[in-house]
Every structure is written in C-alpha cells, then in structure tokens.
Amino acid sequence: MTARVAATAAAALALFPPAITLPIMRIEEMGHATDASIWSGSLGLLRDGDVFVGGVVFVCSIVFPLLKLGGLLAITVGRHALARRARRWSWRVVDLTGRWGMLDVLLVAVVVAWVKVGDLVEITPGPAAFAFTLVVLLSLIATALFDPHALWEESNDP
C-alpha cells in the first residue's frame, strides 16, 4: 500500500516542474498571442501588485501541492529513516496542505476557460496541460490510497 502511495507521489513530483513552468495554454486574441504557464501567471500577478490574489494562487497551486506530495513521499518512503517526531510533523503537513492545495481547482479553471471563452479568443492547450492533468490525477490517487491508519499499524510493527 505505502509503495503505491510513494510511487504515485513520486510520479506526480516528477511531472510537477514541466507542469507548472511550461505554457499550459496559449491565448490568442486578434493576432496577439500569449503563452500562459502557472509559474509565470502567479508570478505575473505578484509583480503587477496583486499581492493577495497572486499569493493565494502561488501558495495553493505551487507551494502546498509540492509540500503535500513531498510529505507523502517522506512518510511512505522514509518511514524507517525518519524520526518519529519528523514523521509526525510531515503527516501534519500532508494533512494541512492536502486541504489547501488546489491543483484540481486550477485544472477546472483552465478547462472552463478553454471551453467557454473559445468564442471570443482562441485558446489552445499547451504542452503543460497534459503534464498538469497527470499531476492532478496522480496526486488524487496518492491521497486516496494513503491510509494513515496503516501508517499507525506499521509504526507498531515489531
């Protein structure tokens, strides 16, 4: 069980860099084309002075999902190496960030834009769309497979 969680979390982590740095969609409006990636989008919001929205997007779509996946990996793979306290701490990180990491919401936003705004501007999915969808899926699977009780039991294994 834990191996499966670790594998899916690792897979999601591996796909994470291209998913957020490569353009996720290309918006073309009367000949003016913009490539938008999650990284450049949230940084752009921050740079334009929209600190609150930019910060929320940055934390919820980049920092928390990364922490959650990293935490899952740490708990499942490094469970024997980690001190009990560190494990407990990483479990808390997973618990908290899992609730606030909103990759799936972002995916829905992209899809909605793609489907609904198509009449006004031309939106084509970029190379990151594929990677991003996979990250969302793998992350969901990892969370679903993750069973804290099993962790509890294992830690009591002699």
Partner: protein, 517 residues
C-alpha cells in the same frame, strides 16, 4: 438543514478541539512504545506487483524529461531589435514574414540601461525560421500607415501590431542584434532583383517624394526610393530604382524630366487647359525618361543624370528599339563578338570619288561570315579594284577571288576563308567558339529577336510584330531606325538564344534578316 441553530457555545462533538494540546506532545517516545498493541486482523500482504508499481514514477520522469527537452529543443534563437519607436507593440505580438508567423515578441522595454530614447524588443524566432535572422535582414514594426497615395498595415488598426521582416542575402550568417527600420521599406527595395539604382540631380525637389514613379512613355518602369540634399547642399539628389526588366531603357544619353503636379493654363484664345499626368503624380510627383536612338550603353547602378523641369519637344519623338525583359537571352546563351570590316573603292569616270561600305563580320569555323556586298567588288568600282579592311589587315577583293579564298554562302552572304588570315585565324576565332556551337535555325515565323554586334553591348531588340516573312528571310519594319551601323549584325532568337540569321541593311533597300544556309 437543522431547524434550530446550535447554541453558540455548543461544539460539534466530532470536530477536533483546535485548542486541545497534541495528546502525544511531551510524551517520551519510549513511553509510547509502552502503549498496548491493538489487536487487528491483518490482510495477508500482497507481495506480487510490489516492485512493478515503481514503473509509474519512472515513466513520469521520462515524460517530464521529454516534455522539458522538447520545449527547450523546439525554441528558436532569441534576437534583440532596437527601434526608435515602439508604436504600441507588446510582448506576445507576432513576427511575420510573407504573412506567416515566424516568431514572437517576448519582451518590450526601454532601450536598456541608460539609453531611454530607444525601444528594445526581444524576439523569439520560430525554430524553422531561425535562418531568417541573418546579416542584411531588415525588421520594421507594421502599423496603420495612411498616406495620400497608399494605405498600408490596415489590419493592425484593430488587430495586434506586428514586426515584419525582409530577409537578407541567403548565404549571410546569423545575427542576434538588429536595428529596426523607421519606415516600412518600399516594395521595390524589398525585391530580390534590385534593378539599377540611378541618381538624378535636380535644382529643387520638384515636389518629389519616395514612392514617386519613373515612367517611360507613361509606363511605370521604376520608383523613387529617396530624395535628399546633396552632401554639399548645392542640388537635390533623387535616387530612383529602375526595375530590372526595364533596365535596358535607361542609357547613358537618356534624359529625365519631372512630370508631377498639374498645370492650369487659362488663356483667352485657348480657354482652360489643365495638364495632369495622373492623380498619383500630382500627389507624390513623377519622373519621365526618354532615350534617343543613339542612346549609348545601358547604365549601371550609381549613374548620375540631370533632372529637368520640362521636356524638349524632340525628346517626345524619340523611339529607339530597346530590348526589354530581365534576361535578353536565355541564361547561359553565348554572345558573339563581331569584327568591323570596311570595303573601299574608287568610283566615277570623270569626277573620282571614294566609295565605302562598312559592316560586321562573324568568325565561324568555316571562315569570316559577312553580307555579300562586303566581300564583292561593287559594280561601280573603277577597274574592278576594291580593298577590304578587317582585323587590322587589308585585302584586295580581286586577289581573294583569284586565290579562291572567298566563297558564296547562298545568294546574300559570303565567307572569307580562314586561309586568308593564316596564323592569326585562331585568335579571331577564339572569342566565338561558343557561338559557333550554338544551335542555328531559320525563322519560320516572326519572333522576338535580339540584334547583336559587339559582344552584346547595347543590343537592339526587335519585336515579333516588327517582322514580316518574305522569301526565306524576314523584312524588318522600316519604322525601326536601323542604320548601316547594324549591317552584318547577328540576329539571335530571344526564346532560345539560337542564331537565326544576319541582318543585311542594303544601301537603298529594306533591312532584312538573312538566314545562314
């Protein structure tokens, strides 16, 4: 939904108390081990497939690497454009060539560092168009451009601005720094075949602007590409680009005058007379050119002419036959080098006078080919004596005939055998080896011809409509001024470069293309 709200102090019994301390905090790890184990039935562990699951992250890693690699690999080179003005260009606007996107602007900033008077554009070229950014390539920002005589860049009024480019020479090497043009270049400047650029010197500007047309008999043959003062400010220099197909029209003796604007002449007897060349020339000015019959050789780029305000009446009457077209002959077609020969004799019984006849002769493997009258003693010559001068030698025609060195070639041509020149013949033949192997044919129907006398320098073009087939030759329209200077010149077909005959211009008769048997 619950009907009655919970009392304010009531807590959801299932929710963890946020203020409650971590039940495990402070408990030593060793103490935790003392907690008794819960008894749980455990499923038997499935060991099969345990290792297989690690294929998933490996695949993900491979996909991630492939995506990143293709993103980096698929990017073309980045170039920097310096422009005087941004004209509202933004990051994301395309770079277009021939109406197709070949890159995009990635960043727009003030000219970098200290230079605030310029705009710096970063452009990412598409990978398959990377070669377009090479030395000699010109870039400019397309914006709506409205002048009295043209409308350009209208699509950028509503849509995005874009950067257009005109690539430099093909073999030039790539560059990454460019300076954008201030104005879009004229179509003529973009053309791969640049034609001939000449300079016209005028006392004043005459209202001429870049874009004004140069016309020959009212037909557009070139464009003014620049107007400016000469470096010493004594005159105005007008640079004009003559399209390559019409380059033969401009000769050293050509004259240019200005035709722009319009003139209104109101007189009591003549009434109102308005002279207007075209609306365009009234707006940006215009230039006319005429070439005399003895126009001289065609000019090359950089040739200077004076620009007159008005034409002389005689200029308008000039009508020299000049060959038009980008290529006078098919590419690679050889041109002959003809020799000038002249026949002299004495004539008259009581009052003696000298008679002369000049013409061109062509060295062929069989001998020196010439119209018959250049190698025959004229009937009026005294005592049957006539001397031929050719290639620095003198011959007595009667001696040549006696020595069997002259041979008839059909009724209107004769050949002087190589034996007459001895050792020197090789030298005469050498420049014409190529033309000797050129296919020869006879005219069966009128076609466009080129008359050549001296290595193709200022040849004459004869349009098919000026020829009339008669017998085995073709008569040339008498309106084409072919003087005796052209006697013996060689006629080449412009379609395939084949030799089709020799031009004979009799002293009294009509010019005729005589086939070579």
């Amino acid at each position: 939904m619950t009907d009655e709200p919970l009392p304010p102090d009531a807590q959801d019994p299932l929710a963890p108390d946020p203020d409650a301390p971590d039940p495990l905090a402070g408990v030593p790890d060793a103490a935790l081990g003392a907690v008794p184990d819960a008894l749980v039935e455990r499923e038997p562990k499935r060991r099969i497939g345990h290792g297989l699951v690690w294929i998933v992250p490996l695949l993900a890693l491979a996909a991630s690497a492939a995506l990143s690699w293709s993103a980096i690999e698929g990017r073309g080179p980045e170039i920097v454009l310096h422009a005087d003005h941004g004209y509202g260009i933004r990051a994301g606007d395309p770079v277009r060539y021939l109406g197709i996107d070949v890159g995009s602007v990635t960043d727009v900033a003030l000219g970098g560092g200290t230079d605030e008077s310029a705009v710096r554009l970063q452009v990412r070229m598409r990978k398959d168009a990377a070669d377009l950014a090479r030395a000699g390539t010109r870039f400019w920002i397309v914006r709506p451009y409205l002048t009295l005589d043209s409308v350009e860049g209208l699509e950028t009024l509503i849509g995005a601005r874009y950067v257009a480019l005109a690539p430099g020479p093909k073999e030039a090497e790539r560059r990454s720094q460019f300076t954008a043009l201030r104005e879009p270049p004229l179509d003529e400047e973009l053309s791969a075949e640049r034609g001939v650029e000449i300079v016209l010197e005028a006392p004043t500007r005459f209202g001429l602007q870049a874009g004004a047309r140069v016309a020959y008999r009212g037909v557009f043959i070139g464009t003014v590409v620049g107007v400016g003062l000469a470096s010493d400010a004594t005159s105005v220099e007008v640079r004009a680009l003559i399209r390559p197909a019409f380059a033969q029209l401009v000769r050293e003796n050509s004259v240019f005058w200005e035709t722009g604007g319009f003139e209104i002449d109101l007189s009591l007897t003549g009434g109102l007379k308005v002279d207007l060349d075209s609306l365009r020339s009234a707006l940006v000015g215009g230039i006319a050119v005429a070439t005399p019959i003895d126009g001289g050789p065609a000019v090359s780029t950089g040739w200077r002419f004076p620009l007159y305000a008005d034409p002389k009446d005689e200029w308008l009457q000039w009508a020299p036959p000049l060959p038009l077209g980008n290529d006078l002959l098919p590419p690679g077609a050889p041109l002959p080098k003809l020799l000038r020969g002249s026949l002299e004799w004495e004539q008259g019984r009581i009052l003696r006078s000298d008679g002369t006849r000049g013409g061109w002769m062509l060295a062929t493997p069989r001998g020196l080919l010439a119209p018959r009258d250049l190698l025959t003693v004229p009937a009026e010559a005294r005592e049957g004596v006539a001397r031929l001068q050719v290639a620095g030698r003198r011959f007595q025609i009667s001696e040549l005939e006696a020595g069997d060195l002259v041979e008839d070639l059909g009724p209107r041509l004769r050949i002087l055998r190589p034996g007459a020149f001895g050792e020197a013949w090789e030298g005469l033949m050498e420049p014409n080896e190529a033309i000797a192997t050129q296919p020869r044919r006879t005219l069966v129907a009128p076609e466009d011809l080129l008359l050549v006398r001296d290595s193709g320098r200022d040849p004459i073009g004869i349009d098919a409509s000026r020829l009339r087939m008669e017998g085995d030759g073709a008569l040339v329209d008498g309106r084409i001024p072919l003087s005796e200077d052209w006697h013996g010149s060689l006629a080449l077909a412009r379609s395939d470069g084949a030799v089709v005959g020799v031009l004979a211009v009799p002293a009294d008769g009509k010019a005729e293309i005589v086939p070579i048997p």
